[in-house]
């Protein structure tokens, strides 16, 4: 254990940046500003996507299509999926927390390519607004977020083309971000900091960024081909012109299955940062945690065809993708057992960050179990494209990623603002989010098993009661954002001062002032080689300073 004592913190120098809140509306190259821009922008899109979810659940209160026109319903469900994935979860778990934390974790003063970083963020608001504006122009895309041809070729073209352009820009943003994270983690590490000494979130972001860089270009190529089919009447995927619709599915899922890991691997990393701090225990099994991330990356790239078990794939392919998919449960299981072992024997503070983290584990375990079930071809043949899949998917991305986003906000808010969030409001927020979420999505497993397909505005009347229960859960989830919003806004002004390190954490971002100065540290960055050395007697901690380096004189 080697921690160099950080220099005394001083008020942040804002000489190089616009002052105060205005800097969040500037083309800042400060990774902390960009991280918060990602977070706040993403949360705004979360509220918009949530409103769409509310509209969907309102339509489903009754078995008939009576709340909105049917084509509008399909537009709303397409936008809901696209907004939540491409504008909320991916940008926030990667862009927001990655930007804010990675430079601290590697001991850098900024990302490797600060201007590319700003470009990556500033692609998001315009493409998001463009996507949503398509609803008001000629109607948004209505072929689902998967945009399967021929439906996406035959529905009104304007909305679909805007959808493609928007997703292409967001994919570009992801790729820029991914390249930046890889370069920052591998090349900007403070001298003396080995890869196997990095905080776990760095490893998660390294794995995620590899997935982003390998798979997102495939999606881009696919969507460009799809747009040619729409506007230039080529026949890549159009069966009327000799195209093959199943090829699109292969190409689409080659990105979009890894996209699930792009959404959950960073969440795994964030939880691995939060739990040791509040359990006052080292992260259990650091090395296997690293290997399991890399195993998930490799396996994640070879499972895409499990989305196509009913599409007409050869039998050998079904067998291969069943086994490959089911085996992801092994590295994922390792992570979950390691978190349990991190909890075991700790001194756990039952605060909002821990509650959301444990809520995440509970939800994700259920989502993972249904995921292994869905990997089995015979099981999948019955429930594919039903509400069972909707439930499974939301247990993974909402019960997984979104719960972790909230846990992370409760954990890092004091660092970002210098003030504490209200714990009572936080626990209340957790309680109604957890109840609402499970009330909304748990019954959907039953709906799918018993015959309700997904993406329908009207359904068999026998499912009305269960749908109404699910909608009540959705309403609770909507209500649950109110105490959270009040908490983050009010606490920024009236919250108790946090001090530099209210959790007494050992990861590097806590060893500077709260909020951090523009260049992260006023002196040398500390060299933290064991970020989770909780429980080690104080006299064993070596506070001798490691020698500095001239590299850290500026952010460039």
């Amino acid at each position: 254990m080697t921690i160099t004592a950080p220099p005394p913190s001083t008020p942040s120098s804002t000489a190089l940046q616009p002052n105060g809140w205005l800097r969040y509306f500037s083309f800042s190259v400060d990774h902390k500003v960009i991280g918060l821009q990602y977070l706040v922008c993403g949360f705004a899109f979360y509220l918009i996507g949530g409103a769409m979810a509310g509209a969907i659940r309102t339509e489903l209160l009754s078995p008939i299509s009576d709340f909105m026109p049917r084509d509008v319903y399909n537009q709303i469900l397409t936008l809901h999926g696209t907004v939540m994935i491409f504008l909320w979860i991916v940008p926030v778990v990667n862009g927001a927390f990655g930007n804010y934390l990675i430079p601290f974790y590697v001991g850098a003063r900024d990302m490797a390519y600060p201007r590319l970083n700003a470009v990556a963020f500033w692609l998001i608001p315009p493409s998001g607004l463009m996507l949503i504006s398509s609803y008001f122009i000629t109607g948004a895309a209505q072929s689902g977020w998967t945009a399967y041809p021929p439906l996406s070729i035959t529905t009104p073209a304007t909305g679909q083309i805007i959808w493609i352009l928007s997703v292409l820009l967001l994919g570009g943003s992801s790729i820029f971000g991914g390249i930046n994270f890889i370069a920052t983690i591998l090349k900007l590490r403070r001298p003396g900091l080995k890869l196997m000494q990095l905080p776990m979130y760095c490893w998660a972001m390294l794995g995620t960024s590899i997935l982003v860089v390998l798979s997102t270009p495939v999606l881009a190529g696919t969507l460009i081909m799809l747009s040619f089919d729409i506007v230039a009447h080529t026949g890549f995927f159009n069966p009327g012109l000799g195209g093959n619709v199943v090829v699109y599915q292969h190409l689409f899922w080659f990105y979009s299955h890894p996209a699930v890991y792009i959404m959950v691997l960073p969440a795994f990393g964030l939880v691995s940062e939060i739990l040791p701090v509040h359990c006052r225990k080292p992260l259990f099994g650091y090395t296997t945690m690293v290997y399991s991330i890399m195993a998930i990356v490799v396996l994640g790239l070879v499972v895409w065809a499990h989305h196509m078990f009913t599409s007409g794939t050869p039998p050998w392919m079904r067998l291969f993708f069943t086994i490959a998919t089911a085996f992801i449960a092994v590295p994922t299981g390792i992570k979950f057992f390691n978190w349990l072992a991190t909890l075991w024997g700790g001194r756990i503070s039952l605060n909002s960050a821990v509650l959301f983290s444990c809520g995440f584990i509970v939800n994700f375990v259920l989502g993972g179990i249904t995921g292994v079930a869905l990997a089995q071809v015979p099981f999948d043949v019955h429930v594919h494209d039903t509400y069972f899949v909707v439930a499974h998917f939301h247990y993974i991305v909402y019960g997984g990623s979104v719960f972790v986003i909230f846990a992370s906000i409760y954990h890092w808010y004091p660092k970002v603002t210098g003030r504490m969030l209200n714990e009572h409001l936080g626990r209340f927020h957790f309680l109604i989010t957890f109840i609402g979420f499970n009330l909304c999505f748990a019954p959907q497993h039953w709906l799918g098993l018993n015959g309700m397909p997904r993406r329908v505005a009207e359904y068999d009347p026998q499912f009305a009661l269960v749908n109404q229960i699910s909608s009540v859960g959705a309403l609770l989830m909507a209500i649950s954002t109110l105490p959270f919003l009040w908490n983050v806004v009010a606490s920024a002004f009236y919250g108790a001062p946090a001090g530099d390190n209210p959790w007494k954490a050992l990861t590097p971002e806590w060893l500077t002032s709260s909020p951090p100065p523009v260049e992260n540290w006023t002196g040398e960055p500390p060299l933290v080689t064991h970020p989770y050395s909780y429980g080690v007697p104080a006299d064993e901690i070596d506070l001798n300073s490691a020698s500095g380096s001239d590299l850290w004189s500026s952010g460039q």
Binding site: L151, F284, L340, I348, L350, P378
Partner: protein, 282 residues
């Protein structure tokens, strides 16, 4: 004298496994089974449900126990134990899930084979001639892909000598049409006789649809430009829903039809009543 923790763990583990098995066997979340392969599917479901219940209850139990047992009490300072790893433990919880997953994978492969899923497809014995061949493929080698492959008599002893009933399914926005080559007529509702294999040859006119009968535990996408097959043997007389499961446009939710499983005699009556003496142009 306190009970040793190893014994307590063993007892709790056994209770957990027995409870999970009981729940898997006794809690029914599925609709009635009405085809030969539905009970086979339900067998897999019960196994998955048992394993899932044991895992879920076990992990949630551990979390709740940890949060209560190891919570920080008021006035309690200092850290927990500095325990960073335990190699045998990690090998254990890597190996056990790997074995379980491998077992489940092989077991479901077996189930799938019993359902007819691993039978090589594209065999030419599907009653109807492949008249609507792909533009760029000769009718001789039209590639026919499907889900559950063939009734090839392996599923049921009673089906050994019975020729499958051919039905040609056409899916379009927003209806299924059923053409019966035996009587050369088209029906908007599917009628099938109980206990006789049925062979569907499915084509889509416009976009991708999916043909799903929840009570049969069967689903197969109906793909434009690429005929698919789906074979099954209904067992339980009754009327069940046919549901389109792939988003196919504004009225996707309304794209529902019915399958009526008749007794053999009733089906023959229905077939005769609808049959045309002259070929239909429809």
């Amino acid at each position: 004298m306190p009970i040793p923790s190893a014994i307590l763990t063993l007892v709790l583990g056994m209770l957990l496994v027995l409870g999970g098995l009981w729940i898997g066997q006794n809690v029914n979340l599925l609709p009635v089974d009405a085809s030969v392969n539905a009970p086979i599917y339900d067998e897999l479901f019960r196994v998955l449900f048992s394993i899932g219940t044991i895992l879920f209850v076990g992990i949630v139990g551990l979390i709740v126990f940890s949060l209560v047992r190891f919570r920080r009490r008021p006035g309690q300072l200092g850290d927990g134990i500095a325990l960073e790893g335990n190699l045998p433990l990690e090998v254990f919880w890597t190996a056990v899930p790997a074995i379980v997953v491998l077992f489940v994978g092989l077991y479901s492969y077996d189930i799938y084979e019993r359902m007819g899923g691993m039978v090589p497809l594209g065999h030419g014995d599907h009653g109807a001639v492949s008249a609507t061949a792909n533009a760029n493929a000769s009718s001789a080698d039209v590639r026919i892909w499907g889900g559950i492959g063939s009734t090839q008599d392996s599923q049921t002893a009673t089906g050994a000598a019975i020729a499958p009933l051919p039905i040609e399914v056409t899916a379009m926005q927003f209806a299924f049409l059923f053409h019966y080559p035996d009587g050369d007529f088209i029906s908007g509702e599917m009628h099938v006789p109980a206990d006789r294999p049925v062979s569907l040859k499915m084509e889509a006119k416009d976009v991708i649809h999916a043909f799903w009968i929840p009570e049969f535990r069967l689903k197969q996408d109906v793909i434009p430009g690429q005929p698919t097959v789906l074979d099954f043997t209904p067992t339980r007389p009754g009327t069940y829903s046919i549901v389109c499961a792939e988003l196919c446009g504004p009225y996707h939710g309304g794209m529902r039809s019915s399958v009526v499983v008749d007794s053999a005699d009733d089906f023959e009556t229905w077939l005769q009543a609808n049959s045309k003496t002259t070929p239909s142009e429809a």
